[in-house]
Point group: C2
Chain length 322, copies 2
């Protein structure tokens, strides 16, 4: 079995053209672009909590990086550099090679260099820190939404948690959904281009990691408004016949509270409607106007049914310790 | 038991005067100082591998941050910002409060802001990423040592591993050593001021985390030289009487291969001798010239006894997977 340093070199020390000094020293050295601000995010993924222990390591490598790039996307930042720290129970070279393949595939796709890391022995745990750059004053923060601003979401939140339920054998999805939902779970696409396009248009943004209502609640709380979500405006389900009532209900719950989707949820003044439509067309990405910010208690999220009556939902997000 | 978000807010969301936007959004926003380069390092600490599971959480909080600042020190960088991600088996509020106390004590002491993080459920694991700033071209890299350059080390490497042996009941240190060694283990002092002072003086530097010989080997390998360490020039043992032969031998092994000390080991041209002496006096920190870079196979480390004969050592560092 190769030693720690040899393993790191073999799979993770790759050229880092965007860095002055890449992996292999006490620190990486980077030259920030003049005048730009840095956006920094860190995420820890634990086997059994964030992913199934037998997850395909290639998919896991992609996703571990993608969820961090999604945080940069939600600020409107350009992804630049990442560090990767990992604990593993053993130096399983096959696993590491496959993980690295997925990780670097995502890094290439989004143009980031892996500039440093740490490898150690322990229960499987991955921690990534991502650095991006954003023009001063242009970041899409959570605290800029105002009463009357429309609420938008990209893609189809809920697919990832439906995919998880399918993989865990808790449901049997119709055939055309299966690949779509499992794909959303295993290979999320951080909405970097959308985040960049929303600079100067969106008033607030967040990525849908905890669940749509929970994440909207974060925007509402930080912005000091309430939120009204309208069921009739939610993204359509994938096309298909004969969806039974149970599946429709489950799909709705996953849409509202499923999480792990990494779509962007954002707010914008109503007059940006046309600009947002143009972005959706340019990016070939559906953007749905699902409600609006309202004059209510800060952080309150209310869902309205087609008759404009409030609906009660139990699960409002994923809290690891509650 | 408080939820994840409440816990984070309560203990880790503190004012971040050096950040444009601190914790609580998708990313932190930072404004790098014009013209400076960024130094970035990440370290993962796992219970049972890097620290004893019953370690005092306050000490652990200090040390978790200190070991990262030590990497910045070894580059000559000014510490600026850190992120902290942690997995914990349960949201033990007493533990978290105590950990945060130690962590922020270290942050205050070294002037860094904690700008972001992540908290999750899982086997105890802490991952910190630290960002510092360094003038372009001034970083103390590992690859700048040249044949003939002197090798220096700060403080007294080996104390931390002696302290660990004492805590584990493997040895019984003389009374005056105990506090010194356990203190070195539990509350390492990152040599930030030394790293800054060595800009323009040292040709290469590393912090002693894996063990003196192993870390010297990293400098030697990256610089394409060999290393000669002279036993007679090593730091003196703490003052005391009647050290027996077993203890002397163990202390020597810990000095050369113990690791976990976070002293700086650096190289410099011989003519910098006087400047280095002045730095030692200014910082009230002993600096020892322990050998020199030699014309041998890249990465080879040889230890010479008082009669100038090579000595063999088995343990040349700590490799988690070998």
């Amino acid at each position: 079995m190769a030693g720690e340093f040899a393993l790191i070199d073999k799979y993770f020390a790759r050229p880092t053209p965007s860095a002055i000094l890449g992996p292999g020293d006490d620190c990486a050295l980077l030259q920030p672009s003049p005048g730009m601000q840095l956006a920094v995010t860190t995420d820890m993924l634990v086997a059994g909590t964030h992913f199934l222990p037998d997850t395909d390591p290639k998919n896991l490598g992609w996703k571990a990086l993608a969820v961090n790039l999604s945080d940069l996307a939600a600020m409107g930042a350009v992804p630049r550099w990442v560090t990767l720290a990992g604990a593993m129970p053993a130096a399983d070279e096959t696993w590491i090679a496959s993980f690295a393949e997925g990780f670097f595939a995502c890094a290439r796709e989004y143009g980031v260099d892996v500039v440093g890391g740490d490898t150690t022995k322990g229960p499987l745990n991955l921690c990534i820190t991502a650095l991006g750059e954003i023009e001063p004053g242009q970041a899409l923060r959570r605290d800029g939404a105002q009463i009357g601003h429309q609420i938008w979401v990209s893609g189809r939140p809920g697919l990832a948690s439906l995919g998880l339920a399918q993989l865990q054998g808790r449901i049997e999805l119709p055939a055309p959904w299966q690949r779509l939902c499992i794909g959303a779970l295993e290979k999320p696409r951080p909405r970097v281009a959308l985040g960049r396009a929303l600079r100067g248009i969106a008033s607030a943004a967040i990525d849908v990691s905890d669940g749509l209502l929970a994440d909207l609640g974060h925007i509402a709380e930080r912005s000091g408004c309430a939120v009204a979500v309208r069921l009739v405006q939610l993204p359509h389900l994938p096309k298909g016949d004969n969806y039974d009532a149970v599946l429709r209900k489950l799909a709705l719950e996953c849409q509202l509270a499923g999480g792990d989707d990494y779509e962007l949820c954002f707010t914008a003044p109503a007059e940006q409607h046309v600009a947002i439509g143009r972005i959706a067309a340019d990016l070939e990405l559906p953007l749905w106007c699902i409600g609006e910010m309202t004059d209510g208690p800060a952080g309150e999220v209310t869902v309205f049914d087609p008759d404009d009556k409030p609906v009660e939902f139990e699960r409002k997000g994923f809290d690891h310790f509650s």
